[in-house]
Amino acid sequence: MKLTRRQALALSFGATTLAVLGVPTTRAWANTEATEKAIKEFTGGAAPEAGRITLDAPEIAENGNTVPISVSVESPMSGDDYVQSVTLLADGNPNPAVATFHFTPLSGTATATTRIRLAKTQNVVAVAKMSNGAVFSDTKLVKVTIGGCGG
């Protein structure tokens, strides 16, 4: 029986169905540039601030093929003050763009939940654009591991 790296990783210490390519010798966020570019395009060039937006993601993915991600933004969601859209990016994926959610005052709250695929350990970034043009972001490091031998 000859195993691929992928099968052998799962065989030895942890279940993962991920294609983990190469060994990360540093915290290599392969697509940092593409991620920054995508953020700039989304915000129209404005640098996002911290606060208002909360990204919920597991510290370590149980299954990198389907990682649950939730995002919520504090906002009155009134006619003149609401969240226009939220975009999600995964900076280690070949294409960082994951999804963009659009809201209106009628949405009531600006919350969204989805599942995303993460090819390896990386940052997930959520950016919110408000109706007044302000932008906020939150980032979480999600580790994709071959699993330990927890005792």
């Binding site: 029986m1 000859k2 195993l3 790296r5 099968q7 052998a8 990783l9 799962a10 065989l11 030895s12 210490f13 942890g14 279940a15 060994v23 990360p24 010798t25 540093t26 915290r27 919920d56 597991p58 510290e59 370590i60 149980e62 299954n63 649950p68 939940t113 580790k143 591991t145 071959i146 699993g147 330990g148 031998c149 927890g150 005792g151």
Partner: protein, 563 residues
């Protein structure tokens, strides 16, 4: 590194209110060679609530030897802080004299000689006697809380799929438990056993994976001693990663810090004056959690098997670590008034099986559940001339034995054995019985696989497991020890980043460097992958022992640690 004085001021300031710690008193009693049950159990009651905590029993019904680790490194902010203090440093920190019962119970110092002097520890009949005595003293002011990893880890637990432990623990009348290895019996069995429990199985961080909704009761409110107590359960967050997810595919875990915070608010909204987290997070995770989630009065921590004779205080939160394998029972008396903890008194009770009496009811139950297996449990496989143990960051002699068996019986070049923290110890001269072997490997996914792996892949595996143990952020730690390796040596720098901790990988037989692109035949066990093929690891070790009936292990110097 803190001096003891600084440590006491930083970590356990409240103890000062209550006079000198109990540890010193025990040491004096022991110095006079007259340790009695009264010395261990007599404690002036304090306040209006008593929490009794026991955790990580790993299905050990009978008294046993369990050597605490000689190496238990902490990285980052927790370097040199308890529980990352071992041996002589531990004795110094807690003012325990070498050679005393406490030195034996809490460290690996002079283990063999002290084990012969002070005997085995644990036994659930002894734990039951302690629990019943405290219950007699404290009446309806007491809660008994079980931190989980209770149902797995022995021959009889494996044979009965946890039923033996459920039956015996029920006799101790716990009020709540949480879990980890429990889940490795699979979804259906876990549901069946949980439904049968006459007490709460709590896990606020367990979700239905499909609907992303809570799958278990998160908390329960108890009224004890006139105080409303909110007990929130926290199962091991990385169960589906460290253990086979396919056995419980519909359950998702995680630390879920925001849920812990919400549940703290929820129990307070329901009137809880005391908030307790019954946790299987592991010590460092709980220490970080305590610093980030306000409002938790007590964390009863588990999973990492640390036994600390004093609480560690994080802000206003007391973190209690009660050891493993039934070696200890914790008693925490609390004075709760006006919704606040005004004072406490704590004792980590070491269960010296020759000093603590046996509870006859529970002793009878233990005999009953073991009776069908008694002949097989006692069947002798070999004799050991070396001390056999597992606990420690990098290697243990019982794992050396398992790795030798894998190399020889599976005709492999390199062996991998998981760094579990359970597994009991045997003294030189003792027989190795079927029961002893299963105490080191009883589980529901024991297949011993054999497969080719490149040198690069083996390095990647070591790097990944090392990061689970030594990531500077506790929330990324999984709480096991380093994977044990047979046939190969390596150097590790725990403080380095993932990908650069492991170096100098060497084939021990030839002294040659492991080549990244060469394939090596690797044997291992406890794969979390569904469909793994191979004989159960206990059959592999038994076959090896049949050919080598006297076990003698040389000191393992194959892992070099860069500090």
């Amino acid at each position: 590194m803190f001096s003891r004085r600084e440590f006491l001021m930083a970590a356990t300031a409240v103890t000062a209110i209550l006079g000198p710690g109990a540890v010193g008193r025990w040491s004096r009693a022991a110095a006079q060679q007259k340790l009695t049950e009264a010395d261990l159990l007599d404690m002036a009651p304090h306040g209006n609530v008593t929490l009794v905590h026991i955790t990580d029993i790993h299905a050990q019904l009978k008294p046993l030897y369990f050597r605490e680790p000689s190496i238990n490194l902490g990285v980052g902010e927790v370097a040199g802080l308890p529980p990352h203090v071992t041996g002589a440093d531990f004795l110094k920190l807690y003012n325990i004299r070498p050679g005393t019962p406490h030195a034996y119970a809490l460290t690996s110092e002079d283990f063999e000689a002290l084990a012969r002097q002070y005997g085995k520890m644990g036994g659930l009949d002894r734990a039951a006697r302690i629990v019943k005595r405290i219950r007699d003293e404290r009446g309806d002011s007491m809660l008994l809380l079980d931190g989980g990893d209770t149902w797995q880890g022995s021959y009889t637990a494996n044979k009965t799929l946890g039923a033996d432990m459920v039956e015996v623990m029920n006799a101790l009348k716990p009020d709540a438990m949480t879990g980890h290895w429990e889940f490795t019996y699979g979804t259906d069995r876990v549901k069946e056993l949980v439904d049968s429990l006459p007490f709460a199985f709590l896990g606020g961080n367990i979700y239905d994976a499909e609907w992303n909704e809570p799958a278990f009761e998160a908390y329960r409110i108890f009224e004890r001693g006139g105080v409303k107590i909110g007990v929130i359960g926290q199962a091991f967050p990385y169960t589906p990663i460290a253990n086979p997810r396919w056995m419980f595919p519909n359950w998702s875990f995680g630390i879920r810090e925001t849920d812990v915070a919400k549940n703290v608010e929820a129990v307070k909204a329901e009137g809880a004056e005391l908030v307790v987290l019954l946790s299987h997070n592991g010590f460092d995770v709980d220490r970080k959690l305590a610093s980030r989630v306000p409002g938790i009065d007590v964390i009863l921590t588990g999973h990492t098997h640390d036994a600390l004779p004093e609480p560690v205080k994080v802000g206003d939160t007391l973190v209690i670590a009660s050891g493993s394998n039934g070696k200890f029972v914790s008693r925490l008396d609390l004075d709760v008034r006006d919704g606040k903890v005004k004072g406490y008194s704590y004792r980590l009770i070491p269960v010296f099986s020759d000093v603590i009496g046996s509870d006859p009811e529970v002793a009878g139950l233990i005999d009953k559940v073991r009776a069908p297996y008694e002949a097989e449990l006692g069947r002798k496989l070999a004799t050991t001339e070396s001390l056999l143990y597992r606990r420690g960051n990098f290697n243990g002699t019982f794992d050396d034995l398992i790795c030798q068996a894998l190399l020889a019986e599976r005709d492999a070049e390199i062996a991998l054995s998981p760094g579990f923290r359970w597994g009991t110890s045997l003294l030189p001269g003792q027989d190795i019985t079927v029961e002893d072997l299963h105490n080191a490997c009883a589980m529901t996914y024991p297949a011993a696989y054999r497969s080719p792996m490149t040198g690069q892949l083996i390095k990647d595996i070591l790097e990944d497991v090392a990061d689970n143990l030594f990531n500077a952020d506790p929330y990324y730690q999984q709480g096991g020890d380093m994977v044990r390796v047979g046939g190969m040596g390596y150097r590790i720098d725990p403080t380095a980043a993932i990908g650069s901790r492991i170096s100098e990988m060497t084939v021990l037989k030839t002294g040659e460097a492991v080549k990244p692109d060469r394939e090596y035949v690797v044997a291992g066990w406890a794969s979390v992958n569904e469909g793994t093929e191979g004989p159960p690891v206990w059959d592999v070790v038994e076959a090896h022992l049949a050919r080598n009936p006297v076990v003698r292990l040389e000191e393992n110097r194959s892992v070099k640690v860069t500090s």
